[in-house]
């Protein structure tokens, strides 16, 4: 039985971590750290946890030794607090962007600031079970990928690693409003954000650097906020290498994901939900992946969908903790999603 702490527990990913960890059969205690809400009831901020917990938030100082600490903080906070938390927890799972890129130069380019702990970048194992399962079994430092990056990586990696596609990818990513976090701002006001198709990053979104890192394919991404609270979908446009046909593509995806507990191949001829779509994944840890081929041009469209707070955040982090604990990966993560919703 593990003792864990969630730092930044009043945020949206923090709240999902609490929900998952409070219901996790191998977790005996969860500290909910929030500097802003310390002393206040958890279910006052996360009303879905009413009757699930009577806990209050605590301050960082109140957390002593624990097995795993989850850092669900604003970007740039993890790299300044890492020493503190590394001293208190066997495993640190970082959900910020601070340790997602292994090259300090690329980090500076995308985050607009220099890294304050570049010597630690190499200590972090990427929190992508589908790519780094073996390393995660012993990982004391894990860096969770960005939500759109996770979708893009899972859609592209099976093709990239087998050399089936040319070395250039363009992604179009769509995301719900919860990706912007729980802090109110004018752009996030319901009347402004409702029904939006808001291109908030036409170029240069940070997550494109992660896709490039993990697939080895130079990637350009456009990110748009659409009407949804949760949910990410990425559409990738790539070109098949000469001689590669669709059966090789199909085989690549099947080989990569047939034994994965949380990746499903979705590419159907008929039905309403033929391709990956986030709405039926809300609350689940699945990432659905699919593809379609344009015979005229040899181009391939790869599609992935996930819940940004789950497989794109908290759920994926719990999966990584399960791996480190040597327990079944789906422990505490069996909710399959709802239909209709």
């Amino acid at each position: 039985m593990a003792r864990v702490a969630v730092v930044g527990a009043a945020g949206y990913i923090g709240g999902e971590l609490l929900r998952l960890l409070l219901g996790h059969p191998e977790v005996e205690a969860v500290s909910a750290v929030s500097s802003r809400f310390a002393g206040k009831r958890v279910d006052g901020v996360h009303p879905n946890l009413r009757s699930v917990t009577d806990q209050t938030f605590c301050s960082a100082d109140e957390v002593s030794d624990c097995d795993t600490v989850f850092l669900s903080l604003p970007h740039r906070s993890a790299m300044t607090q890492i020493d503190t938390w590394a001293g208190r927890a066997k495993q640190v799972i970082d959900l910020t962007g601070d340790f997602r890129l292994d090259d300090p130069g690329v980090f500076e380019q995308y985050y607009g600031t220099s890294h304050v702990a570049p010597h630690l970048l190499g200590d972090f194992v990427p929190g992508i079970p589908e790519l780094h399962r073996e390393r995660l079994r012993g990982a004391d430092r894990v860096s969770m990928p960005g939500c759109m990056a996770m979708a893009g990586i899972l859609a592209l990696h099976p093709l990239a690693v087998r050399g089936l596609v040319e070395r250039s990818a363009r992604f179009d990513a769509r995301t719900g409003s919860s990706g912007s976090g729980a802090t109110a701002g004018e752009g996030n006001l319901h009347a402004e954000r409702s029904g939006a198709m808001r291109v908030f990053a036409p170029t240069g979104h940070r997550h494109e650097a992660e896709i490039a890192r993990h697939t080895g394919i130079p990637t350009m991404m456009t990110a748009t906020g659409v009407e949804a609270v949760r949910g990410v979908q990425t559409i990738g446009h790539v070109t098949l290498c000469p001689g590669v046909d669709l059966s090789a593509v199909r085989r690549a995806f099947r080989e990569s994901y047939q034994d994965e507990p949380f990746v499903r191949l979705v590419a159907h001829r008929r039905g309403t939900f033929r391709y990956p779509e986030p709405k039926i994944l809300l609350g689940s840890n699945f990432c659905d992946v699919g593809f379609a081929h344009d015979e005229k041009t040899g181009r391939l469209v790869v599609i992935a969908a996930l819940d940004n707070l789950m497989k794109g955040g908290a759920g994926n982090a719990v999966q990584c903790m399960n791996i480190r604990m040597g327990r079944p990966e789906n422990l505490g993560l069996t909710f399959p999603g709802l239909h209709p919703i």
Copy 2:
């Protein structure tokens, strides 16, 4: 371990029954009966069940003896098929409106047709654990209440049974689009139904008769479809009897529900989610109940919210099955809901 069947398994409540029963630790086999989709894969209709089940729908004829059968059919179908299913299952849990009212005359008034099996009306125990738990322990015939009725009953019953309110109630009920079922029609087209505030039953909604039956209070209900897929909220307006003060109201709710696993009292002074709201209940079996008092007039507003497919349908039915099995009521029903969503 139980063997169960869901009749009408391609519908929305049918799909939720499948989700819950396939994940239920005491259920070993689930037949998914659909006349329209027999032979087709279940996850083709309910895409959230991909990788959860490879089952196909079957026809009614393929179901032999089972422990519990759930009838999730169009209204008026259960009363014509009841003999068939009563012969095949120890317990019949009916989710149609056919056995919700115990008076054939009231049934005819509200359903516009005469009852074809009035002699069986008395055999059915209302599927309301909070009111009929003891009877449900041995109930072989259970009739689940309507979704808006369930919310209204739970909001009003604690006051009604203690004689705290006058004998007249007016309810305003709001519901998402899934309450209209999975059959496409022009009023349910996304472009028409989106953003709607559609008064589909200004007077005479069937569920008002159920509230009246179970509370003993003559009730009038207005029902409006609002923008949501799932979720029901009922606002009831009643008048406190002379001499009744707010502490008596509070005590009534507390006494009624403090030991209930799925009813929570929600009436806060501060915070965004001060009163019951369905969005944080999606997928959960909770019904949240709250109230507010107008000191000027002595009137009381009672508020209830639930997921119409869960505590208003499938979840509540599984809770009733759990009671009949003598098992913990929350078996298979522990999902707490999401925030944000």
Copy 3:
């Protein structure tokens, strides 16, 4: 040709006033006053006005004499600034709550503060053309009703003035998020407000006092925020007086509204849009009114819908200005609304 000023022009009702007045054939100049955005472009705040105007916001000091000034300010600001604006404009149209109630005691009860200019309350004509057209023709001080009040008043007044209903009304009001204004707060964050059914005022909403004032019927209102940006719908429950039948009700509505340019009677037997629904009214100045009768109980449900920023705010104010100018009431207000939307 009139010269007008909008004070509080960066808000949502302010923005609609700008849209309507900039397109108004009898308005030659519009000052857009905003203390916060003075010097900034109007279309930076109201992007729908791109290419419509190159204007910038100005400060209050820059406004000299004009024909009509619209005060679209936070509550309690109008009564402190009224002397300033009365000195600069022939006509003051106030859209705050400050002059909506004619009784300072009732004002204090509902607004929680004492009125600072009670001697001026009698100077303001209520901005309800359907009730006060003649007085509005010469009105130099106009106080626009609240959005939910406007809907409730138009639904109830024809019955009240003819003594057809008993002296007690209960209203259930639903509103979109724009009613909360353009200032970001945690409850208005998209992820929190999306899909909401938020009972923000179970009792004692200010607008109930206006309905009571203008109909003479003691009124209780419950207000809920539902998923929509614009739109208000009110459902009123009343009881017909003995001997009053439905034809009298129908006649009352017909007589009251047959010549009204912006009130339509909507109560149909068939079709998707049988009763008043705000979504088809967005951007229009219509208030749709309907009713339904419960023969069993003699109770009547009255239903009204409008766009809270139009007939519930800016549009209604422009209609009042048109009346004062002696011009056709629908000048600049002919947009009929969209379908589908």
Copy 4:
């Protein structure tokens, strides 16, 4: 004053044509043709037209000579009915896909059927004022582009015609549900379509052929249905030719559109609505166009947004009629859109 007819007037684009033409200062009579609803009131289908018109739909036979007929029919119906309508109207404006492509082979490839009137393809002038204004002044046969094509063409054409970009474009298009028309189907059911990110055409969408035709640039498009009723947004990824810098791009857009009444350049550094977004365009005839440059790669992202029923359909058709009439292009098209919405 013109006499016009709308064929297919019960559909969504048909309804918008009625709204615009009934409010058009130079139109004296509008026939609303619907085979399905002939004899029924127009406002029963389009409730926003209540009090705007008391007309009923008529059958095709009842239309005699008129100045302009708008064919708002299912694809493949216009090419079979063209002779009929050409005989009754001076000008035929076709809103189907039948005459959008000038090459019968390409038509067959994209529409899966051979063209029945290939000899007439050359008679139709594309209904794109920004590209073909002079030809439209005398055009008796006009073919309106597809909604997503229109957005894509306006975003790409200024660059393509000046040779600033390489000859390959990839588009990602998003659309609301009204683009699927007014016929109910299971995929369009509110509970299924709500909150969707539905990739309904990962490759080979018909509108890509129109973009290719009008820009000369081979184009691939992915089309996704997102949560909205109205609105189209297209994101195009192109590569600047060697030596082309951003100022040339800016100049190209400015030159192309500075005198256009309905195209606005939207590419801001700050603010919530920095790039084109459809929600503030609902009901308006604007197409907003913007771009962003990725300096690292030399790639350019072009963005366009419009209301699919307006500049992507009915509004654009009325603009073309205005051009043919020699009248101001914005006649009857001055509604600027709403904010917030």
